[in-house]
């Protein structure tokens, strides 16, 4: 059993809850807030892992993650949403109860799939692997169900958060170099997508994926 199992389990449960909240939330501004909360939970869990293993590089990773995912990326996304004037748009979604049911099915599937992984290693918490896997699948589901480009990007960022969460809570982190690389990718990605959105909207008058696709087909 790894040290500090109880608080880590609690954080994992909260993480899953937040992912469900994302799946359900319709307004972009709130979605960004939830994304920031997810970042907070992630940072806490990394800090906890750092405390448990007394590893300096995990502390550094926690700082990096906190800076990036609680402060920088949400601020960038907010600014983008404000400038695109889409923050309070209500997205049309598939019925919420159906989405939740699909999500539950995915979680059960993920826990099942996590069984052999947990059996392969020793001292790894099965629930955490299950939750991390479920979060990845749920983020993907969110990307599928969303109709606007910006919320799809948030789904993508949430998936990246889930991956980092899996990495830190199962194996106590990836090599520092890789984490730096991922952090750089995220920040560059957000910048580039921001530029792209303005171009997309100029071209198609909308950020609505459905409309863009229809225009594309009618060509």
């Amino acid at each position: 059993m790894m040290p500090l199992a109880a608080p880590i389990n609690l954080l994992a449960a909260l993480f899953l809850l937040v992912v469900f909240a994302m799946l359900w939330q319709r307004r972009l501004a709130n979605l960004i807030t939830i994304y920031a909360w997810q970042g907070t939970i992630l940072t806490l869990s990394i800090a906890l892992a750092a405390y448990a293993t007394h590893s300096a590089h995990l502390y550094a990773s926690a700082c990096l993650n906190g800076l990036l995912k609680i402060v920088l990326v949400p601020a960038l996304l907010r600014r983008l949403a404000r400038r695109l004037d889409v923050q309070w748009d209500r997205e049309s979604l598939v019925q919420v109860s159906t989405v939740m049911l699909i999500g539950l099915g995915l979680v059960i599937f993920a826990f099942n799939a996590a069984l052999p992984i947990a059996a392969a290693g020793h001292g790894i918490n099965r629930a955490i692997i299950g939750i991390a896997l479920a979060s990845i699948l749920l983020s993907l589901l969110m990307m599928i169900l969303r109709a606007t480009a910006l919320s799809q990007v948030i789904g993508f960022l949430a998936m990246e958060n889930s991956l980092i969460f899996a990495a830190t809570s199962v194996t106590y982190g990836m090599p520092m170099v890789i984490e730096f690389g991922i952090a750089l990718d995220v920040i560059v990605g957000v910048f580039i997508l921001g530029v792209f959105f303005f171009h997309i909207r100029e071209q198609f008058d909308s950020l609505d994926i459905d409309r863009i696709e229809r225009r594309e087909e009618s060509r």
């Binding site: 599937f109 799939a113 052999p116 699948l137 599928i144 994926i209 594309e216």
Partner: protein, 670 residues
């Protein structure tokens, strides 16, 4: 950790810092034009430092250092040995001339263009230096990519024209194919050398890891592909004739003189200093590709009518010769004939140096002609010897050197290459021992063709009468351009008149690569070569030439002692003699085009006998476009169209496919 205290490192670091500062300062040229005249002369100073460091590296033992830069746990390693030394000298000396030429070039360009060239040129110089001193796969690749990107940006300096953008893209594409192959070669070596979690990536450690024959063979093929793409070996040479004409002339000179040699440097570094003792088939592969490249380059350059494209194909030919010599060296070392391998390597390295000098000279001279006339097409030039006598004289030296005329450097190294081909009879396999000397015949053909090409180039550009009226306005190039040309002319003369000195300079590199002391006199397996005099004895030759010339003058004086009369030239009975009656570039290349039609893709347009306005024209293309690149492009397009048809139109469906695949894979997992 070593602190770089040695003088060579000091010089290299000084040059790197200077060039970085200059690249940064160039950004401000449009705002503060006063700094513009200083930028390129200071760059030349940095190049001098690098050349000096190269000379020191050639004299002394290898010096290494570990730089504090790099990622945590993955520092950059540097090493300067004799091989780096040869290429640093080559690079430094040529770059001094090119920087001087750019000083003149700058004065006639707009500030934003000058700023762009200033930034990218100095970044390119710094990354080239780093490529030559890098001693681990990681820093080597970083420097390599920086070099590729900055040189791409220089090629597309004139990015407003479609031709420049297309040529630049082709260059970037082949550059990337090459870089990927090099990356793959290093990855294979690193993967087999790795023990546990420790990452082995320095060249020294990779060499010590002794990969087995299969791994080494695969790594060799990948490296040959990658470095061959950079050097311009067949069939990846197609970027040269496209990129050289569109780049500014000083940049063409840098591409041809230095950047092609980086490919040669990489090939030597990897095959001789990273991989174990070569297998015979490596040498045969390199030799065959080299000879093919030389032949095709020479044939193609004979039929070009664009000055810079002609020179670019001539560079292909020369790189082919160098590569063939390297292949021979690989064969010799595969059979343990170290002294002969050293001879072939000396020949290859010597020709590298010489080609850098004379091709740099020709490209810079072409730049002066281009500036004076605004014309690259040989069909619209002519008679420039009267307008630009000094440039014409220096270009004459350059063309004679390319043609391989004895007192100049081109002859010295080609003669050495020929010698090493003839010494292949020492190889213990009869097929090789008898077959390779036949390659010498091919070499002679190539040398002959090179002479033919240069007669065409010089004769049509500088001799005869101007083919266009506006050529009368052509003016001599400026003092800085002439200084650059003059420096390279002197280097050509020095390397040609004093081959013993040049060979003594290069010898440490050949000794390093063959791990044997390259002796002045080579006597192995019955073959005996005096390396110092293998080139030829220039002093005796000079005396003989002088005596013959003097004798001729005296005899002529004695027989025809009257004062010369001036009279009109006989006009062959024609009432009017016009400039259009002169031989054209196409006309001059015609015999080659006919005889070697099988090697070239020629599309001619012949007029009918009763045509009132007869027009004759022909377009010569590279056969590789028709036979290799277009089919490959069509194949890729077909694959692309097929995948595009498979692709779902809606993003949500694509994402759903990802999710479904993930779920299926997870469910199938045991």
């Amino acid at each position: 950790m070593h602190v770089p205290i040695g003088l060579p490192w000091g010089l290299i670091l000084g040059a790197l810092i200077l060039w970085s500062l200059l690249a940064f300062a160039s950004l401000f040229i449009p705002k503060a034009p006063r700094i513009a005249p200083l930028i390129f002369p200071l760059g030349a100073l940095g190049a001098l430092c690098v050349a000096a460091a190269g000379l020191l590296a050639l004299q002394g033992p290898p010096v290494t250092m570990v730089s504090p830069l790099g990622l945590p746990g993955l520092p950059f390693h540097g090493r300067m040995d004799a091989l780096s030394g040869v290429f640093l000298v080559l690079f430094g000396l040529t770059t001094v001339a090119i920087s001087l030429d750019l000083t003149g070039y700058r004065a006639r360009e707009h500030y934003p263009v000058v700023a762009r060239i200033g930034v990218q040129y100095h970044i390119l110089l710094a990354s080239l230096t780093l490529v030559f001193v890098a001693a681990d796969a990681y820093s080597f690749l970083i420097a390599w990519e920086a070099m590729a990107l900055s040189s791409y940006l220089l090629v597309v300096t004139d990015h407003h024209t479609r031709g420049a953008r297309r040529a630049g893209f082709l260059y970037l594409l082949i550059e990337h194919i090459g870089a990927l192959a090099i990356l793959a070669a290093f990855t294979i070596l690193i993967a087999q050398a790795g023990t546990g979690t420790r990452l082995v990536y320095t060249f020294a450690a990779l060499h010590a890891s002794h990969p087995d024959a299969t791994v080494a063979g695969i790594a060799f093929l990948l490296a040959f592909l990658g470095f061959g793409a950079k050097a311009g070996l067949v069939p990846l040479h197609v970027w040269l004739p496209q990129a050289h004409p569109v780049a500014p002339s000083p940049i063409s000179a840098l591409l041809s003189s230095v950047l092609l040699k980086v490919g040669i440097y990489g090939l030597l570094r990897v095959t001789f200093m990273l991989l174990p003792t070569p297998a015979p088939w490596w040498g045969l592969t390199v030799l065959t590709v080299g000879l093919l490249t030389a032949l095709l380059g020479a044939l193609s350059s004979a039929v070009q009518s664009d000055m810079k494209r002609l020179l670019a194909y001539s560079s292909v030919e020369n790189v082919g010769l160098i590569t063939a010599a390297i292949g021979l060296a690989l064969l010799f070392s595969a059979y343990g004939l170290k002294a002969l391998a050293a001879l072939a390597l000396i020949a290859a390295l010597y020709h590298c140096l010489n080609h850098a000098f004379f091709k740099g000279l020709l490209f810079l001279g072409t730049g002066s002609v281009l500036h004076a006339t605004g014309e690259r097409n040989l069909g619209r030039l002519g008679g420039l010897i009267h307008r630009m006598p000094r440039t014409a004289f220096m270009m004459l030296i350059g063309t004679l050197a390319v043609a391989g005329v004895p007192p100049l450097n081109g002859f010295a190294s080609e003669w050495l290459i020929l010698q090493s081909f003839l010494k292949a009879t020492a190889l213990p396999r009869p097929y090789l021992a008898m077959g390779i000397p036949l390659g010498a015949a091919l070499l002679a053909l190539v040398a002959g063709l090179a002479g033919y090409v240069m007669v065409k180039f010089y004769g049509i550009v500088f001799l005869g009468r101007p083919r266009e009226a506006r050529l009368a306005q052509a003016v001599e190039s400026g003092p800085f351009e002439r200084a650059g040309l003059g420096l390279l002319t002197l280097l050509c003369l020095a390397a040609g008149l004093w081959p013993a000195g040049a060979i003594a300079l290069i010898r440490p590199a050949a000794s390093l690569l063959t791990r044997a002391d390259a002796p002045i006199t080579i006597s192995e397996a019955g073959a005996r070569v005096d390396v110092a005099h293998a080139a030829y004895a220039p002093a005796i030759l000079w005396v003989a030439l002088g005596v013959v010339a003097l004798a001729t003058v005296l005899v002529l004086r004695a027989r025809f002692s009257q004062a010369p009369r001036r009279a009109a030239v006989w006009n062959c009975g024609h009432p009017v003699i016009g400039a259009r009656m002169q031989d054209t570039a196409e006309g001059f290349g015609q015999p080659i085009r006919r005889i070697f039609a099988a090697f070239l893709a020629v599309r001619s347009h012949h007029p009918a006998p009763d045509d009132r306005v007869p027009r004759y024209g022909s377009v010569v293309e590279d056969r590789f476009w028709e036979d290799l690149y277009r089919p490959a492009a069509r194949g890729f397009e077909a694959i692309w169209a097929w995948t595009a048809a498979l692709r779902p139109r809606r993003i949500a469906i694509s994402l759903f496919c990802v999710l479904a695949t993930l779920i299926v894979l997870l469910a199938l997992a045991p």
